[in-house]
């Protein structure tokens, strides 16, 4: 099991949710995980219903069996100052650089430096050890940028190592690449059973593979429950409206005669079934496309009550059941 678990996915697929559920799932049985946020959206805090996360590793949840989930929202500016202090004892110079706008430059404008810092911090946490030699975190789960940018994001150190051919940044970049391109890392992609996210997932996997980054699993999120089966769908097309009306009347929904309450429901209900059938067919198509990717596939259910903390634990249990942790 890789120690650094990177979770990406197209916008709107729920990658933050999946990352959080995975961190919970991996923390069960007394393990300790760190959930890392890199995009400054405070999505983790919202999910765990806590106040905004500072740039500090703090415990945000307890997993079944006594495990712990820590969370960290990486702030690139602070990470850079941290880094300067740690490696060069440049605290004062750091402040001077900040005044000059150099920190701003480094974290927002300079190609990749921001991403170097973010990935660097996550790798550092994944490798950090206690005095005893035991890893501080059993797993680090990163809520990473979306699929469209993930390869670039993870691969940025390669580019930086190329730009800065010598010096500490070069060395740091190479060390980070060493972790990211090894089996210590796994990049998971979250998708929905819709055409665009699935297409983007396929493209993302191709890009990751081309960059020789380790692709993990595909998680299909928000899978709707099957309500009507193949027989039902067949019947929807051929059934007599009057007999459906009679069934609805039997169920206590009013009269089956023309104009009766049960009869008036038949049209709208069959229309909803037709929409369901269309969507179902599209979903089956997309499942087939995902099946061809040659990666382990996992499905998480759409939570009827919407996403909340209880739902998060539910998804974590589901991930454990499916062997993701």
């Amino acid at each position: 099991m890789s120690r650094l678990q990177v979770v990406s996915g197209k916008g709107g697929t729920g990658k933050t949710t999946v990352a959080a559920a995975l961190a919970l799932a991996l923390a069960t049985e007394g393990k300790r995980t760190l959930l890392v946020e890199v995009e400054g959206r405070q999505g983790i805090a919202q999910l765990f219903e806590t106040e905004a996360l500072p740039y500090e590793e703090r415990k945000i949840a307890v997993a079944p069996g006594g495990g712990e989930v820590f969370a960290l929202a990486i702030d690139p500016e602070l990470a850079l100052l941290d880094y300067l202090q740690m490696f060069y004892k440049l605290g004062g110079a750091g402040r001077a650089l900040k005044k000059l706008g150099a920190i701003d430059f480094a974290t927002t404008i300079a190609p990749g430096i921001r991403d170097v810092l973010l990935t660097g911090k996550a790798c550092e946490a994944a490798r950090r050890k206690e005095k005893s030699g035991r890893f501080v975190y059993d797993y680090v789960v990163m809520d990473a940028p979306p699929t469209g940018r993930i390869t670039r994001f993870l691969n940025v150190n390669d580019e930086v190592a190329g730009l800065a051919k010598i010096g500490p940044i070069h060395n740091q970049a190479q060390a980070v690449m060493g972790v990211l391109k090894s089996p210590q890392t796994a990049v998971h992609l979250v998708t929905l059973l819709e055409e665009m996210p699935v297409q983007e997932t396929a493209d993302g996997i191709a890009e990751l593979r081309a960059a020789r980054l380790p692709v993990g699993r595909v998680v299909v999120n928000m899978v709707r429950p099957q309500v009507l089966d193949a027989d039902d769908l067949e019947l929807v097309r051929t059934v007599e409206r009057s007999s459906v009306a009679r069934s609805l009347a039997t169920a206590g929904l009013g009269g089956a005669r023309r104009g009766g309450n049960a009869e008036k429901l038949v049209g709208p209900l069959l229309e909803q079934a037709a929409e369901y059938a269309e969507r179902h067919a599209l979903e089956q198509e997309q499942r087939a496309v995902l099946g061809e990717l040659g990666l382990p596939l996992h499905e998480l259910p759409l939570l009827a009550e919407g996403m909340d903390l209880a739902g998060l634990y539910e998804l974590a249990t589901e991930l454990r059941k499916q062997g993701l942790s």
Binding site: A102, E195, L235, A251, A256, P268
Partner: protein, 474 residues
């Protein structure tokens, strides 16, 4: 299709939030020159932008749609799947006559305007950046810049290049004045309004002290009076050199030196684009889906746009679900489904025909049904099923499906209520959910019609503020 038995009360409840956004009025107003679609990722921004562009073109305007990263099939359908960074005319636009023949929304277009055109393009950010450099530096200098490794990284992907270049391209398109309406899609940014921040950020970087510091050693070199300053500078550049590595620092310095003369141009352009976004004639549409995260982002957009004095005209709420049977609650549908699935009821003999035509009094049939025979041990699956049993099973499924739909509806309603409570001033248009994806002009046309139809109840007073003000002014 049967007459829509939707509960008027339910419909009213769904219409209640805020004011309705009149899309056609926005698109038809000649004062509207730029429409910017912004919103978080995965809410259908690109599709919305394309659908608005198509609708405006078919209503007689000369439109260009600037998309950032369209889905492949959508791009293909518009003929812009190759990246050449110039607008291409989209074929298959129906002019007014065809629109009238189709009988769809033609009345709105019937104001004597003809000859609408749709052009579309996909942004190539590197190419756009190159063009800016070429426009602001003499050929020799431009060549130096374009060949610089630091520039090549910067143009291909510093955080915000895409955002900056999208706005740059918008400025270019506007300056050409070839189109009377520009519809822009915005990049799926890390943080919501990067496309507003990036030009400023780049501008302040290029104007900043750091740049002067980096270029200073070359400029000041040797001047005696500056010796003290120079020491400070070289200490600084020394620190940077230590961090970045000598080669990178040299690349940066060369880049900066070469760019020196073009900085002013960058800054001016960034400022001009920013002002263009604030100008009357620009309309911001925030796009969202009725989901918690998307609407939270939308609220953030609304607040930021107000703070930046950018003209917001409304919220497009995509993928809103409805039901033709909104009167039947989820709870009742589920209870009814259970009635049908209860074997004691399901396996009734034919003799109970009376039941199947029970009167409209609710509850009575249930009582009658529970008195039914418990017997007939027909297995649930496998053995040939009774036709009525089969239909009952289907009906139960239909009811469960409906219950699910109603739960979704109420969840969507709660989410949007939260947004409306925070921003009652924002006009909203609902776009009903489609079961499948959109990837052809017919699909876009359909979305366009849905966008416009969302505003049928619109009263004059409810017009989007931005549009109304503009109309008054013109």
């Amino acid at each position: 299709m049967s007459p829509d038995p939707a509960d008027p009360q339910d419909t009213a409840r769904r219409l209640s939030p805020a004011r309705r956004l009149d899309v056609d009025r926005l698109l038809d107003d000649p004062g509207t020159r730029i429409v910017v679609c912004c919103g978080s990722g995965g809410v259908g921004k690109t599709t919305t932008a394309a659908a608005l562009g198509l609708r405006a073109a078919e209503r007689g305007r000369k439109v260009v749609v600037l998309t950032i990263d369209p889905a492949r099939r959508l791009a293909q359908s518009m003929g812009i799947d190759s990246l050449d960074n110039v607008p291409r005319r989209v074929k298959g636009i129906e002019d007014q006559a065809a629109g009238a023949a189709r009988g769809d929304a033609a009345e709105g277009a019937g104001e004597g305007r003809t000859g609408g055109e749709l052009h579309a393009m996909m942004l190539d950010m590197k190419r756009t950046f190159d063009e800016v450099v070429e426009a602001h530096a003499d050929p020799e200098r431009a060549a130096t810049i374009l060949a610089n490794p630091f520039y090549q990284s910067l143009s291909a992907g510093f955080a915000g290049t895409q955002e900056y270049m999208a706005m740059e391209k918008l400025g270019q398109l506007r300056a050409k004045d070839e189109w009377d309406l520009i519809v822009v899609d915005t990049p799926p940014s890390r943080s919501a309004l990067d496309f507003l921040d990036a030009p400023k950020r780049l501008g302040s970087f290029l104007d900043g002290r750091l740049i002067r510091l980096l270029t200073a050693p070359a400029k000041l070199g040797g001047r005696a009076g500056m010796a003290f300053l120079n020491v400070g500078m070289s200490m600084m550049t020394g620190t940077l050199g230590k961090l970045l590595g000598g080669q990178l620092l040299k690349d940066v310095q060369t880049f900066v030196a070469a760019m020196d003369t073009t900085f002013g141009g960058f800054r001016t352009r960034a400022d001009a684009t920013y002002k263009l976004l604030q100008a009357p004639g620009t309309a911001f549409l925030v796009v969202a889906a009725p989901e918690r995260d998307a609407l939270r982002e939308a609220a953030y957009f609304v607040e930021r746009l107000a703070a930046e004095r950018m003209p917001l005209v409304g919220l497009v709420l995509n993928r809103v679900h409805g039901s033709g049977a909104g009167r039947l609650s989820a709870e009742r549908a589920l209870a009814a489904a259970e009635n049908l699935e209860d074997p004691r009821i399901v396996d009734q003999g034919d003799g109970k025909a009376g039941l199947r035509n029970s009167p409209d009094t609710e509850g009575s049939s249930r009582t009658a049904a529970s008195e039914g025979a418990a017997g007939d041990p027909v297995s649930e699956d496998g053995s040939p099923t009774h036709p009525e049993h089969t239909v009952d099973r289907l009906a139960a499924g239909l009811l469960r499906l409906h219950a699910e739909r109603m739960q979704l509806l109420s969840r969507e309603q709660r989410t949007r209520d939260r947004f409306t409570a925070r921003h009652p001033e924002v006009a909203v248009v609902d776009v009903p959910a489609l079961p499948g994806d959109v990837h052809d002009l017919a699909g876009l046309r359909d979305i366009g019609a849905r966008l416009a139809a969302g505003a049928t109840d619109m009263t004059g007073a409810a017009g989007a503020t931005g549009t109304a003000e503009r109309t008054d002014a013109s």
